[in-house]
């Protein structure tokens, strides 16, 4: 059976670099950092006092009453989905809701709601706990709200695979269309956990950068001076559509989602496999699924989070699967690590790299690790032909997702 072709017809995002896709992409190409000091009082006691915070607050975009019943992660999902939907030119009235699906996940979910309502419970008792608490903190909340907004009836799903979530959502979206369950899928990831508890938890794992005095230099994938990831918040959403459905309505097509690979390490709950074995298998599956040759894939948007171990294992895995030719980049050097939204935001960067024939830069790569054997678009964006590109996302729990996008 031949697989139906799936294309990307809409993009939406709200990120530490901008309130939409265009401003985020401009900032990326300019090599700007979205990382800044946390000036909130609660940050003073933390070992980590930097993060990549949103440029545009949800309260600047959404109605006050709606925001009262949304966790921040849900609000970000609705904002990014609205942009992607508008961008796609789809019409709610003419699209059959039974052919519209949603796959939107989050790494951690409504933690901010959980913690805020626990404070209320402790201080004022159970009767003061908001009746909106459960729909705000449930991990499927962002997907469910997006599904409600666009009246999606083909199925609303919320995959959860830590930092691979956003990419996994796109992979399941591809699957939904290929298997005939939907013509259009709103897919992506959200995350909003810039709060002392998650930061303290990650910091206790010694996973985060403590370069508190120099926030813009803190996220430095592949650099010898890297000392952990920088937490970011935001959302990325793409509109996936069966190619003939998009063609029939004359939709503008950004790129083709050519293939996806999902594997698991079976190795450790948080440590990445030292040789990136599971990641390599995911890339191999995606390549086979795409039907493309390794030489077609000229660019890789790497997972590269700026942690000492993971960054180098991935480089070896990429080289083992694709060869020595791909030009790498790590956009987390600018956006920080958006956890469950990372794979979706980086898919958007990968798609726009293909459209504009340019690889966004990896900033702060001042002193490359000796094991960095592949070419990286360091410091400056690099114009080049990109027939196809791969986006890697790996998550705690040993989840590996590789997505391959290709010129339509």
């Amino acid at each position: 059976m031949t697989k139906p072709e799936v294309v990307v017809t809409g993009l939406g995002a709200t990120t530490p670099l901008g309130g939409d896709v265009a401003s985020t992409w401009d900032a990326m190409l300019a090599g700007r950092s979205g990382v800044s000091k946390l000036t909130q009082e609660w940050a003073e006691q933390l070992p980590v006092r930097i993060a990549a915070q949103l440029v545009v607050e949800p309260s600047e975009v959404l109605d006050r009453i709606l925001l009262r019943r949304l966790d921040r992660s849900e609000a970000l999902g609705l904002i990014a989905a609205a942009e992607a939907w508008k961008d796609s030119g789809l019409d709610r009235d003419s699209l059959d809701g039974e052919r519209l699906g949603v796959v939107v996940g989050s790494g951690i979910g409504g933690a901010q709601t959980l913690l805020a309502q626990d404070d209320i419970l402790e201080a004022s008792g159970p009767r003061r706990v908001s009746p909106h608490t459960v729909p705000m903190l449930m991990p499927n909340g962002p997907a469910a709200y997006v599904g409600l907004e666009y009246k999606a009836k083909a199925g609303v799903h919320a995959p959860t695979s830590a930092c691979a979530t956003g990419a996994e959502a796109i992979a399941w979206g591809l699957d939904m269309i290929r298997s005939g369950r939907a013509d259009v899928v709103i897919a992506g990831g959200v995350e909003a956990v810039i709060h002392p508890l998650p930061i303290a938890g990650f910091a206790s794992m010694r996973a985060m950068s403590t370069r508190n005095d120099d926030p813009e230099k803190a996220s430095r994938p592949w650099d010898k001076g890297r000392d952990g990831f920088v937490l970011g918040e935001g959302a990325g959403i793409v509109i996936l559509e069966r190619a003939d459905h998009a063609a029939a309505r004359g939709a503008r097509v950004y790129a083709r989602l050519a293939g996806a690979g999902m594997t698991s390490d079976g190795y450790d709950i948080v440590q990445p496999h030292p040789e990136g074995e599971g990641g390599a298998r995911a890339m191999r599956v995606a390549l086979r699924d795409s039907g493309l040759a390794a030489t077609d894939v000229t660019h890789v948007n790497a997972h590269a989070t700026s942690t000492p171990v993971g960054d180098m294992a991935e480089v070896g895995a990429v080289q083992g699967v694709l060869g020595a030719h791909p030009v790498l980049t790590a956009t987390k050097s600018m956006t920080g690590h958006l956890l469950g939204a990372a794979g979706a935001l980086e898919s958007i960067a990968t798609i726009l790299a293909i459209r504009d024939s340019v690889v966004p830069p990896t900033i702060n790569l001042d002193d490359p690790d000796d094991a960095l054997t592949l070419d990286v678009a360091a410091h400056k964006a690099r114009p080049m032909q990109i027939p196809a590109a791969l986006n890697n996302s790996f998550g705690f729990g040993g989840h590996n997702v590789a997505l391959i996008f290709a010129r339509a």
Partner: protein, 79 residues
């Protein structure tokens, strides 16, 4: 506390919790049918009203409070 004062107080709560325009609030208006207050928001309204007027509104009673006037009468009785 007069009934008018209670209605004004309820209008302020409804604006804060559910975004209802205070000009739309009057005694004969139904919370659900006229003012679009859904069940979860109604819970918020009740808790806020208890706090503001210093009364207790048992859950069994809430279903009887169909209109703003019903709620104002109940508060008046308890106060």
């Amino acid at each position: 506390m007069t009934k008018e004062e209670i209605v004004t107080g309820l209008a302020e709560i409804l604006e804060e919790v559910a975004g209802v325009n205070p000009d739309d609030v009057s005694e004969e208006k139904s919370f659900t049918d006229d003012l679009d207050v859904d069940s979860l928001s109604m819970v918020e309204v009740v808790v806020a009203a208890e706090e503001r007027f210093g009364v207790k509104i048992p859950d069994d009673e809430v279903q009887n409070l169909r209109t703003v006037g019903d709620a104002a009468d109940f508060v008046l009785k308890q106060a």
